[in-house]
């Protein structure tokens, strides 16, 4: 039981990333912005005006950033650019991809990318948090799309001990059904056709995993809320955190890549080490030119 306690404790620590505060803030902004459009203006006091202003400013700032950094591939109005070759647009339309897609792609450094025909790798982030929020707000303003998830979406907080355990177990099964085919049983990633790859999930922030599920970055299929419920996504993230945090019961994992790395170690360490011992066993020991004082001394 204590094992679970430890893991559960770690999950909650793990989740509080440095950007969590911003995410909450941003979510709050979007939520209030959204509410504002629904609710009657008369109902909203003057304070809301200020927020609307900042929201609009945010969109405007995002548009500026977008025009400079993204429009060369995604078009002046994020409508996407023409086909480079069959089945491959230079930059896809961003209408309707939602703030979550922007937050994921720019927040993990995948965008802006150097070569559109290649898979975007995770790399150093170019924009700061405010800029990403602004661009997300701009893209979200184009058409409805998945919003940036809040911490509550992927947190097990508020669940009882038993519910948490069930969630992790269920998350493991969902993970093995939907994710391991590409990302491997350990989340270590795997190869895809024509040089593509499913990236390693180790160390990826919960928010980005949630956003990736929602938006399906690059070639990844999406797992929209109609496909995989928010609870199911939360459970998968909880499971991933569990296997990431749990100790390696059997020793060093050798990359968690399965039998290939095991075979490599069997040959290099096992056979290599044992042949080393064999060389030592059969090697001739040092010799001397002297002879024993007593002829038969060393015999027998």
């Amino acid at each position: 039981m204590r094992l679970l306690n430890r893991s559960a404790g770690r999950i909650s620590r793990h989740r509080r990333g440095p950007v969590a505060g911003l995410v909450v803030l941003l979510f709050g902004l979007l939520l209030t912005g959204g509410l504002y459009t629904v609710l009657d203006t008369a109902f909203v006091p003057a304070q809301a005006d200020e927020q609307t202003m900042s929201d609009e400013e945010l969109v405007a700032e995002g548009r500026e950033l977008f025009l400079v950094g993204c429009s060369s591939c995604h078009g002046q109005n994020a409508e996407g650019l023409a086909t480079v070759r069959e089945g491959q647009v230079k930059g896809p339309s961003l209408v309707g991809v939602g703030a979550a897609a922007v937050d994921f792609q720019v927040g993990t450094g995948r965008m802006p990318m150097a070569r559109p025909e290649q898979q975007a790798p995770r790399k150093g982030v170019v924009y700061n948090e405010e800029e990403i929020a602004a661009m997300a707000a701009y893209v979200a303003s184009l058409a409805p799309g998945p919003a940036i998830p809040s911490e509550e979406d992927y947190s097990l907080e508020g669940l009882s001990e038993e519910e948490r355990e069930e969630a992790i177990v269920r998350g493991g099964q969902i993970f093995l059904t939907n994710c391991t085919a590409c990302h491997n049983f350990n989340g270590s990633g795997g190869a895809m056709p024509r040089g593509g790859y499913a990236p390693n999930l180790k160390g990826v922030e919960d928010r980005y995993i949630y956003e990736a599920l929602l938006t399906g970055p690059q070639a990844m299929p999406n797992f929209s809320n109609g496909n995989l419920s928010p609870e199911a996504k939360r459970d998968v993230i909880a499971y991933l955190n569990t296997i990431e945090d749990q100790p390696e019961y059997g020793g060093f994992g050798m990359g968690g890549l399965g039998p290939v790395s095991e075979g490599l170690f069997a040959w290099l360490l096992g056979i290599g080490g044992l042949v080393g011992f064999a060389v030592w066993i059969a090697a001739h020991t040092t010799r001397t030119t002297r002879t024993p004082h007593l002829e038969e001394g060393a015999e027998a």
Binding site: V169, P193, G251, F277
Partner: protein, 581 residues
């Protein structure tokens, strides 16, 4: 036959037949010998000679890892439950608690998490299995490269090949037992292989699985094959392998005092009993440390087998990797003839090529013996370079194996080296044919040039690195003769004889029966040995030495060089280290 009656009681009286009082060891040995008569057999073998060379210990790795497998395997059977009955897991590993799984998987998790030392034993068993098969292959390569498979040891070679096959099957049945996701995926692929068998495929699948895949029979059946049938066969064949080893005695490297008629080395008692016994502890110890430090087959991460789930990196253990690689690079050929399906895409890489390779492997000594026509016993080993064609054949087979093996890990190659699995596959489809051919030619030429190098050393000595300037200003490197020991060792090999069919017509000019076969044999013999460099004859050596001496005297006269000098027949021993043996 005369019976030694001195120790047989001549009466029914109570006087002991032996009166003398033996020493303590002698007492126990005498007691045993009185009843078992072992002294006769042991007299010959207690001081059996073992030549000292590291490569002779490779087979021992296999033997000792087999012992580790037996010991750790017995431990595992005490808890493992080979049943496919479904239970809810309620053990210590939380992320799987409450999941339905087979009892096989549940008991594997129990061994891993709730039996102290259980996970260690599981991992040791798995590492030992990987090392077992690997060491058999390394041993096989050593035997073949050094020509130890030649008469009279061909049958032991065949037994060794069977051991390799059985070891591989034993490994497959073993890693299928936990019924985790990875092993279940492997078993399902095996089901696909069976189904691809022409005519009887679906029957074989249904019989093996006791009905439709996956059924509830496969784990218990694999279990009994894994713990009884194959280990029994392995034990019997290992016993035969070692009896033949004792009967034939060890091979040895040529060298001063070592001939085809003797074997030089350390006696089994005490030196090799200690070295081999000590090596057992070392193999056991290395396995234990690997089992303790390196995680292998973490079944808890795979979860129980579920036919709807799969993981990236679904590979078999390494020794099954090469047929899997062939399967991956095979084009998708399937034909339908009279409404019946023939799955070439599965049959060729799984049902045809691997058995064929095994047969080729087993026939290698016989093919070689037929080409050379050599009927002599061989106990002195050959250096790989002195059998260039043989070495090249094995390197070419290794290249085939290695490429197929790499193809079996093409997805991991792709992500590790940023390649495309498609490109790797296309490349492998070509290389699997071209690679072995290239390897064959390179190896052969390499061996032949190494032979040339040996002859150079024999005839002109070794390169000292000392550059000399002659009076005319020309530069030469000084060569010095190698030691007599090294020189003898280099020449201690047979000259190759090329078989020819010239005499194939008898006195009446009638072509001998089977001459076409003989012509083929002659052609193969010429192709195999025609390019080899033969060792120099005694005259060539003498001439070369006389020449060197002459040069030397000239030089000595010119510049009064001091240091090394050649004195005709009494070749000075130079401190060149003898060839590593």
């Amino acid at each position: 036959m005369s019976l030694d009656t001195s120790k047989v009681a001549s009466t029914n009286g109570s006087t002991p037949a032996t009166a003398s009082k033996p020493s303590k060891i002698g007492g126990v040995a005498g007691w045993a010998d009185d009843r078992l008569g072992l002294a006769t057999a042991m007299r010959k073998n207690l001081r059996k000679v073992f030549p000292d060379h590291w490569s002779f210990m490779l087979g021992e790795i296999a033997l000792w890892s087999f012992v580790v497998l037996l010991l750790s395997g017995v431990f595992l059977t005490l808890w493992f439950n080979p049943s496919m009955g479904e239970v809810h897991y309620e053990g210590s590993y939380d992320p799987l608690r409450g999941i339905e799984m087979s009892e096989a998987m549940a008991s594997t998790l129990n061994i891993s998490f709730d039996v102290r030392g259980g996970l260690l034993m599981r991992q040791m068993h798995h590492w030992a299995a990987m090392i077992f098969v690997a060491s058999m292959m390394v041993h096989l390569l050593r035997v073949y490269f050094t020509g130890a498979h030649r008469k009279p040891r061909e049958l032991n070679w065949v037994i060794g090949c069977l051991l390799l096959l059985l070891g591989t099957l034993e490994g497959f049945t073993g890693y299928s037992l936990p019924d985790d996701l990875l092993s279940g995926t492997g078993v399902r692929a095996a089901d696909g292989f069976l189904k691809a068998t022409p005519v009887v495929g679906s029957y074989m699948s249904f019989f093996l699985f006791g009905g439709e895949f996956p059924g509830d029979q496969i784990i218990p059946r694999l279990y009994i094959v894994h713990v009884l049938l194959i280990p029994g066969l392995l034990l019997g064949l290992i016993a035969a392998h070692m009896l033949l080893l004792v009967y034939h005695k060890h091979t040895q490297w040529p060298g001063p005092g070592r001939t085809e008629q003797n074997v030089v080395g350390f006696p089994m008692l005490p030196v090799y009993a200690a070295k081999a016994g000590g090596y057992f502890f070392i193999v056991f110890g290395v396995t234990a440390i690997m089992g303790g430090l390196l995680s292998i087959n973490p079944v808890w991460k795979f979860g129980p087998y579920d036919p709807t789930k799969v993981t990236a990196g679904s590979q078999p253990d390494w020794y099954m990797g090469w047929p899997d690689g062939l399967l991956r690079i095979m084009p998708g050929w399937e034909s339908v003839i009279f409404g019946y399906t023939i799955s070439w895409n599965v049959m060729i890489p799984i049902l045809i090529v691997p058995p064929l390779m095994l047969v080729v492997l087993m026939l290698l000594p016989f093919i070689e013996a037929w080409i050379t026509g050599d009927k002599r016993d061989h106990h002195l080993l050959q250096r790989p370079r002195n059998a260039p064609t043989r070495t090249a054949v094995m390197v070419s087979l290794m290249t085939f194996y290695g490429l197929a093996w790499a193809a079996g890990g093409n997805d991991l190659l792709a992500i590790t080296f940023d390649l495309s699995i498609n490109q790797i596959t296309y490349f492998m489809r070509v290389m699997i044919f071209v690679g072995p051919a290239i390897a064959f030619f390179i190896t052969r030429r390499w061996c032949i040039s190494l032979q040339r190098h040996d002859n150079e050393k024999l005839l002109h000595g070794y390169e000292t690195g000392v550059i000399m300037r002659s009076a005319e200003g020309g530069y030469t490197e000084r060569h010095l003769p190698i030691s007599e020991t090294s020189a003898y060792t280099l020449t201690a090999r047979d000259r190759d004889e090329i078989y020819s069919v010239d005499g194939d017509t008898d006195a009446n000019g009638v072509v001998a029966p089977g001459s076409r076969v003989q012509a083929l044999r002659a052609k193969l013999s010429k192709a195999s040995f025609g390019h080899n460099v033969q060792k120099p004859t005694a005259e060539e050596l003498a001439e070369a030495h006389a020449h060197a001496q002459h040069d030397h005297e000239l030089e000595a006269g010119d510049d009064h060089s001091t240091g090394h000098e050649l004195h005709g027949s009494t070749v000075q021993s130079v401190d060149e280290p003898p060839r590593a043996r």
